[in-house]
Symmetry: C2
Subunit: 165 residues, 2 copies
DNA sequence: ATTTGCTGTGTTATATTGTAACACAGCTAA
DNA sequence: TTAGCTGTGTTACAATATAACACAGCAAAT
């Protein structure tokens, strides 16, 4: 039901998963997707994606900007970051968490691009889950309301297992 | 399943419902809620609520500010509006639509305050639905993830029946 | 290899949304 | 009537995002 196995997911809040692997996998998926779609994963875009994948907490655009400026050793202006973010959003490589004005890596880019997250209000851990879980209910909602739903944007706020302890 | 009967709901996009009644009902509910909770529905707060209820489309804070300034005949500063909005949000009288940075009246204030909307990307009609509909699935999600979910923030984007024609 | 055009970047300025901080007004309860 | 709390006015500013324009640099076609 969730994006990966439970163990993997629960591990994200802790130190238990191989995060280097997590990042490099994401970058490889991105490269592959760009090849397939004949898009260019330029240095800036890749850097921004890498920064976003540094954690499983959503990061703000200005925070990305600052980190990027530091690692590049020169000032980086907002449009630079926002262009990269727009590119990544368009390809479905990242999601925007509206309730936090922040961005987070997508587990399975290339799919129909719904955005479904469990978000911890204490540590900001954001856990993506499959829209599949709500499929039938959303379908019923479409039928009853007459709406044609094209994008799900679901943010469930609460407390993650780690922070409950 | 939806907040009202289907007919009423579907009518909101069109001219078919008695919108004056819709507004005055909302204001009466607000007055009652404030009485119960021993809160003061001041002139500014009531004005803001009334403006928000002018339509079933979410309105931005600065748009409220401008309209208010016009109707009051004098400049209104952002904090004035944001304070009223915060008050109304706290009481559950309105919702914030995060994907639009905008605010909309709540159909049934006083309930556990989840925010579940169908939003038309063409006309911005925002239709609230009952979180009840997804209750079982959210419950299952809590079980599997270990998260304790305290607030649902669901925005389903698409096209309303009117705009599909 | 050169040209041509498109895509991406740099830069400046500015728009939009939301808050902090502080002084004061005005209601409410003793 | 006063004391204290809640709400408002006002100024300044923070945080997030975009417009517009000049230029760079890759990529396909000649």
């Amino acid at each position: 039901m969730l994006s990966n196995t439970n163990n993997e997911l629960l591990a994200k809040g802790s130190e238990r998963h191989d995060h280097e692997r997590c990042i490099s996998d994401a970058l490889i998926r991105a490269q592959k997707l760009c090849q397939d779609q004949k898009q260019r994963l330029t240095r800036t875009r890749e850097q921004v994606l890498r920064l976003i994948w540094q954690s499983h907490q959503p990061v703000g655009a200005y925070s990305i900007m600052d980190t990027l400026a530091e690692s590049e050793g020169k000032r980086v202006a907002p449009p630079t970051v926002y262009r990269a973010l727009d590119f990544l959003l368009d390809l479905g490589l990242i999601h925007r968490i509206n309730s936090l004005n922040a961005y987070i890596g997508c587990q399975s880019p290339g799919h129909q691009h719904h955005s479904c997250f469990l978000i911890c209000q204490q540590c900001q851990l954001a856990l993506e889950f499959e829209p599949e879980l709500l499929k039938n209910q959303i379908e019923a909602l479409q039928q009853h309301s007459g709406f044609a739903i094209s994008q799900q944007n679901i943010e469930l706020l609460g407390t993650c297992p780690q922070c409950q302890q």
